[in-house]
Chain length 178, copies 2
């Protein structure tokens, strides 16, 4: 519930209900009601509250379910394959929303999927070793070890290894898409 989230943000910062209300330009009563779920804020008050916290409205709706600390080691990771692809991605993050980081090794000639793929996210590939070819719509980019590429996942894209050696990559995707 949005009220819980706001309460959390407020208490985290040690602010009183009145202090936050004043900074946001709303009444303390309203804040109290919102935090307890008695009423729901309008977008305009939501904007003001987010402003005080220096946060985006989006972040007020994101689930901050605390995943403490999670370590993954090679061989113990759950894997993930694209529908028509040959690559097997390994999950570096527990699959609980908010952030997805994957690891993969592409053998020579391997592609992430037969067709170009799109989903509403932003992703960033870092090439650990080898050479990666990225196809975005009609463009083709080559990324070497130590380099990275960031792309809007809405644009149809796929990854492939056009070289003669293995390519190792780390892929960060946000928001995660199943």
């Amino acid at each position: 519930m949005i009220g819980d989230r706001l309460h959390e943000l407020r208490t985290e910062r040690g602010m009183s209900l009145r202090a936050l209300a004043e900074q946001a330009g709303v009444s303390p009563t309203l804040l109290s009601q919102i935090e307890r779920g008695v009423t729901e804020p309008s977008l305009s008050t939501l904007r003001r509250l987010a402003g005080v916290f220096g946060a985006s409205i989006a972040s007020l709706f994101e689930d901050p379910a605390a995943p403490a600390v999670w370590i993954s080691r090679p061989g113990e990771r759950s894997t993930l394959g694209a529908p028509n692809g040959q690559i097997r991605y390994e999950r570096l993050t527990p699959g609980n929303g908010q952030l997805e980081v994957l690891h993969a090794v592409l053998a020579p000639g391997e592609v992430s999927s037969d067709e170009l793929w799109s989903h509403p996210s932003l992703e960033c590939v870092y090439v650990v070793s080898g050479m990666l070819t990225v196809q975005v719509e009609r463009s083709v980019y080559t990324v070497a070890a130590g380099e990275s590429l960031t792309l809007d996942s809405n644009r149809p894209h796929r990854y492939l290894n056009d070289s003669a050696t293995n390519t190792e990559i780390v892929l960060a995707i946000n928001p995660p898409t199943p």
Copy 2:
């Protein structure tokens, strides 16, 4: 503006105003007004609309400002230092919100900052080479090359290199915190 985002999502799917309105259980007129910014939706209608799209409310407020493709190469990257730390992070992503991926090399003995640090995010470190020590509150974790660690950044934490060789890491943070 939220209306633009909704319009985009609707047209992307080839839906008519009336079709979406019916599925969401609101009037076509209201949708029209919202899309044009004449009025702002309540959270309850926002929930219904997000439901039809199979999206979260948060995603409706995320900026899909298309950053196309962005390639970063070593030496051409903007850097970023923690307040009291010795590490210099290199940015792998353009700094436009949504996702931040950093790269860093820690010399032997280097720490990310003198004090433990916390911010409302989720982060994932992948160790490319060397050995990384992660301190989270009173716990200490050791992460080897090829391994990764995910943590709730709200918990006070810092990174250090306790080994005798360089440690190279890739760090994904979401949401980004300046």
